[in-house]
C-alpha cells in the first residue's frame, strides 16, 4: 500500500504530443514516461528540437493552438490532466504547478517595481491583502537568499543583475507553494559565475522546500549539479532514464554514450579530453527512421534496429534504456576508437616558431554619451584597457571571460573593425593599427574571422557556393576558371559534399552553417583566423564535430587560431595558450595546463569553480563571487577585481594596480597576492 508521501507528484506515462502543420501532423514527442517524487529534482536533457520543452508545455497545457496530446497520461498528484477542459484543469492544478523560463527579463514586467509584481501574484490569485502579500514576498526573497530583499522590492527589473532577476522569478514561482516547479533552461542565458549562483540556489531549494523540480536543459554539466535523476531525450523519445551517476558513468544507450564523449570535461587532463562527435544529424520529426530513431547515427546498429522500434526497458535495476543491445553497448565503454585518438593527438603539435601577432598595451575606448545636455567632460567605456599578448605561429590562443569582459572588442580591434584608442598592434611584422578599409589586401587576406551566430553568419540571399567563392574571387586565390573546383575542395574539407554548392543558408542546420562560415574564412588561406565563440550556439554533438574540424584544418593548413570562448571546458581541450580577461584586462595568461592548475588568479579560480562539469565523480571547490561586474565606464581603481575578490588582501588592492607575477615560462598572473601563497591554493577540480 502506497502512502500519499510516496506517491509521485508527477507521473507521465506514454505521453505523445503532435503538432499540426501545413504538411500534416508531426509527432514531436512519442512514448515518454517518467515520474518525479516529492522534493526530488529530475532533469530532462537533450539537444535542441528533441522535444524536451514540448513535454513541459504539455504538462502545463501550453501547447498552443496547433499542438495536442494524442496519447498517454499525465498524472499530477494522482489525477489525470489529459483530456480535461481548460476550466477543469485550472481547478485540478490550481496554482500548484509553476514554471520558470530561460530569459528572466522576459518574465518580469519592466515597468513595474519588483515588489508590486510579486505581490500581485498573491493579491490576484489568493485574494490576499496587499500588506500581507508584501510581507510574504519579502519573506520569500529572503528564502531564495536574495541580498537586501527590502531594497530589491522597490527596484525595477533593469536595476538588478541577471542572476538576481532569475532569483526573483524563482521566488515568484515559489510564492504559491507549488507542488511542481518546472524550469526550462533557467540558466542558459546567464554567465558562468551567475549560473553557478542560480544552480546553488536550486540545490538549496530542494533542501528547504518539498517542491518537486523538473529541470530541462541541454547542458550535461548543469544536470550533474542540480539533480539526482535524469532522462535523456532524443528525437522526441526518452532513450535513457536513471540516476545521474548511472547515466554518466554507465551509459547504456549509444546516444547517451555519444553525448558523454562529445562534452569537453574540465576534470580530465588535456590529452585525454578528446572529443568524439556523433556522426550525422538529428532526424527531422517529419521523416523519422522506421526502426530505432538513433539507428542512422549509431555505431552499433544491426538489421534489427532498422526494422523494429525498441521499447524503454529496465536494463539494470532502476536504469532504463531504449536499446536492443544495451548490455553490449555498456560493455564497449566510452573510449573513442584508438585510431581517432592517435589521429587527433597527431593534429596537436604546435611548431613554436616566431610570434605572428603581437599586441602591446592595447586600449579601445568607446565614447559614452554625456549625461548632461551641455558641457560635462566626455566619458569613456574602457572596453579594452592595456592588454598585451603574443600569439605564436601555428598555435591556438584562447581568450576566456564572461560577457562584457572585452574579449570581443579586443578581437574586433585586431581585425580592424574598431579603432584602437592606443597601443601597438603588429601582425606578421606589420603595423595593423589602421582600420580594415585602409589595410593592404594581402594583409586582409591573412587575417580572417569566424563568427558566433550561425543564423547570421551567412547572407540568406546567396547560395553556399557563391558565398565561399566570394573571398576566392576577391583575394584572387585561384584563377577564375578554377574557382568552382576550389569551392568544391573547401566543401569537401568541411565534410559537406558538393550537393551543398547550390543550397541556400536556410536549408542548412546550425552546424552546417557554421562550417560554411569556416570555409569562407579559410578560403583566402589566411595565416591567422579569429574565432568569436564559433560553437557556443551549437548543440554539444555538433559542437564536437566543428571543433575537431577546426583542429584538422589547423593541422592541414598551419593556420594560427585565436579562439574566444566563455566555456573553460572547451578552451582547455582546444587551446595551447589561454588568456583570462576581466573587465577589459587580462588577469592571467599562460599555457593551457598552467591555467587549470594552481597558482590561479582568484578570478580564474572562481571561473573554474563555477563551470558545471558533466561528471558526477568530480568535486569542485566552492568559490562564489559576490556582487556584480562593475561598469567599464568607471572601473575600480587598483586591481579591477578587488570589488568581488574573495581573496582580497586589503587596501593595497584598492589603490595600487597589481604587478605581473611570473610563474614558469609564459605563465603570468596579475595579482598582489604573492605567488607562494597562490601556489598553496588547492586545485579547484579534483576527482573523487
Amino acid at each position: 500500500m502506497q502512502t500519499s508521501r510516496d506517491l509521485p507528484i508527477l507521473k507521465v506515462d506514454g505521453l505523445a504530443i503532435s503538432y499540426e502543420t501545413r504538411y500534416g501532423d508531426v509527432q514531436a514527442v512519442r512514448d515518454v514516461s517518467f515520474e518525479i517524487k516529492r522534493g526530488e529534482a529530475h532533469s530532462i536533457v537533450g539537444e535542441s528540437g528533441c522535444g524536451k520543452s514540448t513535454v513541459a508545455f504539455g504538462i502545463v497545457n501550453f501547447l498552443g493552438r496547433n499542438g495536442k496530446i494524442v496519447a498517454g497520461r499525465i498524472l499530477f498528484q494522482g489525477r489525470d490532466l489529459v483530456g480535461r477542459s481548460p476550466e477543469e484543469l485550472r481547478k485540478l492544478r490550481g496554482d500548484r504547478i509553476a514554471m520558470v523560463y530561460q530569459d528572466p527579463m522576459q518574465a518580469l514586467n519592466p515597468s513595474m517595481r519588483l515588489g508590486d509584481q510579486m505581490a500581485e501574484v498573491l493579491v490576484v490569485h489568493r485574494h490576499m491583502h496587499k500588506r500581507a502579500a508584501e510581507d510574504r514576498c519579502l519573506h520569500m526573497l529572503e528564502r531564495v537568499y536574495m541580498a537586501d530583499p527590502a531594497n530589491v522590492m522597490w527596484r525595477y527589473p533593469h536595476q538588478i543583475s541577471g542572476g538576481q532577476q532569475q532569483r526573483v522569478v524563482i521566488a515568484m514561482a515559489l510564492l504559491n507553494d507549488p507542488a511542481l516547479l518546472i524550469m526550462d533552461e533557467p540558466t542558459t542565458a546567464l554567465d558562468v559565475t551567475v549560473e553557478a549562483e542560480v544552480l546553488d540556489l536550486i540545490a538549496e531549494l530542494q533542501k528547504d522546500f518539498e517542491t518537486a523540480i523538473m529541470y530541462i536543459t541541454h547542458n550535461l554539466g548543469v544536470v550533474a549539479r542540480v539533480s539526482k535523476r535524469v532522462g535523456v531525450m532524443y528525437a522526441g523519445e526518452m532513450v535513457e532514464l536513471a540516476t545521474v551517476e548511472e547515466v554518466y558513468l554507465r551509459p547504456h544507450h549509444p546516444y547517451t554514450q555519444g553525448l558523454m564523449r562529445c562534452v569537453p570535461r574540465l576534470g580530465m587532463d588535456k590529452t585525454s579530453s578528446l572529443l568524439y562527435p556523433i556522426r550525422g544529424r538529428v532526424p527531422s520529426p517529419k521523416h523519422l527512421p522506421p526502426g530505432c530513431v538513433f539507428e542512422p547515427r549509431c555505431d552499433y546498429a544491426r538489421p534489427q534496429c532498422r526494422q523494429q522500434r525498441p521499447a524503454l526497458r529496465e536494463v539494470t535495476p532502476d536504469h532504463w534504456a531504449r536499446c536492443f543491445f544495451a548490455e553490449e553497448v555498456v560493455g564497449q565503454g566510452q573510449q573513442p576508437p584508438a585510431e581517432l585518438a592517435t589521429h587527433l593527438a597527431a593534429l596537436r603539435a604546435p611548431e613554436r616558431a616566431e610570434p605572428i601577432l603581437k599586441v602591446q598595451h592595447a586600449r579601445t575606448y568607446y565614447a559614452a554619451p554625456s549625461r548632461k545636455l551641455l558641457g560635462g567632460h566626455k566619458q569613456f567605456v574602457k572596453a579594452v584597457d592595456d592588454v598585451s599578448l603574443q600569439v605564436q605561429r601555428g598555435e591556438t590562443f584562447g581568450i576566456v571571460g564572461e560577457s562584457g569582459c572585452g574579449k570581443s572588442t579586443l578581437v574586433k580591434t585586431v581585425i580592424g573593425m574598431e579603432k584602437p584608442t592606443g597601443g601597438e598592434f603588429e601582425f606578421l611584422g606589420l603595423d595593423i593599427a589602421a582600420p580594415v578599409s585602409q589595410r593592404d589586401l594581402a594583409l586582409i587576406r591573412n587575417l580572417q574571422m569566424v563568427f558566433q551566430n550561425p543564423d547570421s553568419t551567412l547572407n540568406p540571399s546567396f547560395s553556399v557556393g557563391a558565398q565561399i567563392a566570394r573571398p576566392l574571387r576577391r583575394f584572387k586565390v585561384v584563377p577564375r576558371d578554377q574557382i568552382r573546383a576550389e569551392v568544391m575542395r573547401l566543401l569537401d574539407m568541411m565534410k559537406l559534399g558538393e550537393a551543398y554548392y547550390d543550397r541556400l543558408p536556410r536549408q542548412l542546420s546550425g552546424g552546417e552553417k557554421q562550417r560554411v562560415g569556416i570555409a569562407r574564412a579559410i578560403a583566402g588561406r589566411p595565416q591567422l583566423v579569429l574565432c568569436d565563440e564559433p560553437v557556443s550556439a551549437l548543440d554539444v554533438s555538433v559542437q564536437a564535430a566543428v571543433l575537431n574540424l577546426l583542429l584538422e584544418i589547423q593541422h592541414r593548413t598551419g593556420t594560427t587560431l585565436v579562439f574566444i570562448a566563455h566555456d573553460l571546458g572547451i578552451v582547455r581541450f582546444f587551446c595551447d595558450q589561454i588568456a583570462v580577461m576581466y573587465l577589459g584586462q587580462i588577469v592571467e595568461i599562460g599555457p593551457a595546463e598552467a591555467i587549470y592548475a594552481p597558482p590561479y588568479h582568484p578570478y580564474t579560480e572562481a571561473l573554474l569553480s563555477a563551470v558545471p562539469i558533466p561528471d558526477p565523480r568530480v568535486v569542485q571547490k566552492h568559490v562564489r563571487l559576490s556582487g556584480t561586474v562593475p561598469s567599464a565606464l568607471n572601473p575600480p581603481d587598483g586591481c579591477r577585481f578587488h570589488t568581488r575578490c574573495p581573496r582580497k588582501l586589503g587596501p593595497i588592492c584598492e589603490t595600487e594596480p597589481p604587478p605581473w607575477q611570473q610563474d614558469g615560462p609564459g605563465h603570468r598572473i596579475f595579482c598582489h597576492i604573492p605567488l607562494e601563497e597562490l601556489r598553496q591554493v588547492e586545485p579547484v577540480v579534483t576527482m573523487r
Partner: protein, 290 residues
C-alpha cells in the same frame, strides 16, 4: 559536362524563383488584386485593338450622352467616346506610375543605404534633408514642383519621385540599420569589401522583401497622385486621355451626365485597390514564416 552543369544551375535558379512567385497564389486576396492589375495591364497593351473609337475623335451630335449602343460608356462634353478614352488613359497611367515609382525607389534606396550604412553625420545630413521634404503637405509639394517646372509627363514623374523618395529612404534606412549588424556584413567588412559592394550586394538583397511590397503600394499611391494632378489640371496637357483630367472635366457636367465622372473614378479606384490588395496579401504570406 560544362553544359549540363550550367543548365542544372539554371534549373535550380528557375525553380527557386518559381518557389518565390508561387507564394502569391497561397493568398486569395493577393490573387484577386493580381487579376485586376493584370486586367488593366492587358487593356493598356491592347488599347488600340480594344478601343472602339479614336480617343480624340469628337462627335458633335453626341455630347455628354449616357451609355448607348454606339458609345458603350457614353460621351464627354466634347463628344469623345468615354470607353476609348478610358482604355487609352490606362496606357499613360500604367507607364507613368511604375516609372515614377522606379525612380523614387531607386533614389530612396541609394539615400537610405548610404544614410543607414555609414551613419554618423552622413546619416544626419541625409535624413534631415529628407525630413525637410516630408514636412511639406504632399499636395502642396506637387503644386509647387509642377508649377515651377510646368505640366508634362516627364515632370509628373519628377514630382512623384521627389515626393516619394523620402519615404522609401526611411524604409531602406531602417532595414539597413538592422541588416548591417548581421555577421555576414561584418564578414564582408573583414574581407575589406568596398562599401558599395556591402551596400548593394550584401545588404540590399536582404531588404528586397519589404521593399518590393512597399513599391507595390507606392504604385497605387502614384496612380492616385497622377489622378489628383490630372484633376487639378497639372497633369498631362489637354487632349491626352488622362483619368484624372477626365474626372475634372466631367465634374462640370455632373448634373447632365453623372456617369461621366463615375467611369474614370471607378478605373482609378479599382486599380489602386487591386494594387493594395496584392501588396497586402503578399506581405501577409511572406511574413507568415518569420
Amino acid at each position: 559536362m560544362v553544359l549540363t552543369e550550367t543548365t542544372s544551375a539554371r534549373n535550380s535558379r528557375w525553380r527557386r524563383t518559381w518557389a518565390g512567385v508561387s507564394v502569391i497564389f497561397r493568398s486569395r486576396v493577393a490573387v484577386v488584386g493580381l487579376v485586376i492589375v493584370v486586367f488593366w495591364i492587358l487593356v493598356a497593351i491592347l488599347a488600340p485593338l480594344i478601343a472602339p473609337h479614336d480617343p480624340l475623335a469628337q462627335d458633335s451630335s453626341a455630347i455628354n450622352q449616357g451609355p448607348s449602343r454606339l458609345y458603350l460608356l457614353g460621351t464627354d462634353h466634347m463628344g469623345r467616346d468615354v470607353l476609348s478614352r478610358l482604355v487609352h488613359g490606362s496606357r499613360t497611367i500604367l507607364t507613368l506610375a511604375p516609372l515614377s515609382v522606379l525612380a523614387s525607389v531607386t533614389a530612396g534606396t541609394v539615400l537610405g543605404l548610404v544614410g543607414g550604412y555609414f551613419g554618423g553625420w552622413v546619416d544626419e545630413v541625409v535624413m534631415r534633408l529628407l525630413d525637410a521634404v516630408m514636412a511639406f503637405p504632399t499636395i502642396l509639394l506637387y503644386l509647387i514642383i509642377i508649377s515651377a517646372i510646368g505640366p508634362s509627363a516627364a515632370n509628373v514623374v519628377i514630382a512623384i519621385t521627389f515626393v516619394g523618395a523620402p519615404g522609401v529612404a526611411r524604409l531602406v534606412r531602417s532595414l539597413t540599420l538592422d541588416i548591417r549588424t548581421r555577421d555576414y556584413v561584418r564578414a564582408a567588412e573583414t574581407r575589406g569589401e568596398h562599401p558599395l559592394h556591402i551596400m548593394f550586394v550584401e545588404i540590399l538583397p536582404n531588404a528586397r522583401g519589404p521593399l518590393i511590397i512597399d513599391s507595390m503600394l507606392r504604385v497605387g499611391y502614384a496612380i492616385f497622385a497622377i489622378g489628383t494632378l490630372g484633376f487639378l489640371g497639372l497633369g498631362l496637357p489637354a487632349p491626352t486621355p488622362d483619368w484624372g483630367g477626365m474626372i475634372s472635366s466631367a465634374r462640370k457636367y455632373i448634373w447632365t451626365n453623372p456617369l461621366g465622372v463615375l467611369w474614370p473614378a471607378l478605373a482609378i479606384s479599382s486599380l489602386v485597390v487591386a494594387l493594395n490588395l496584392f501588396a497586402d496579401g503578399l506581405r501577409e504570406e511572406t511574413t507568415r514564416y518569420q
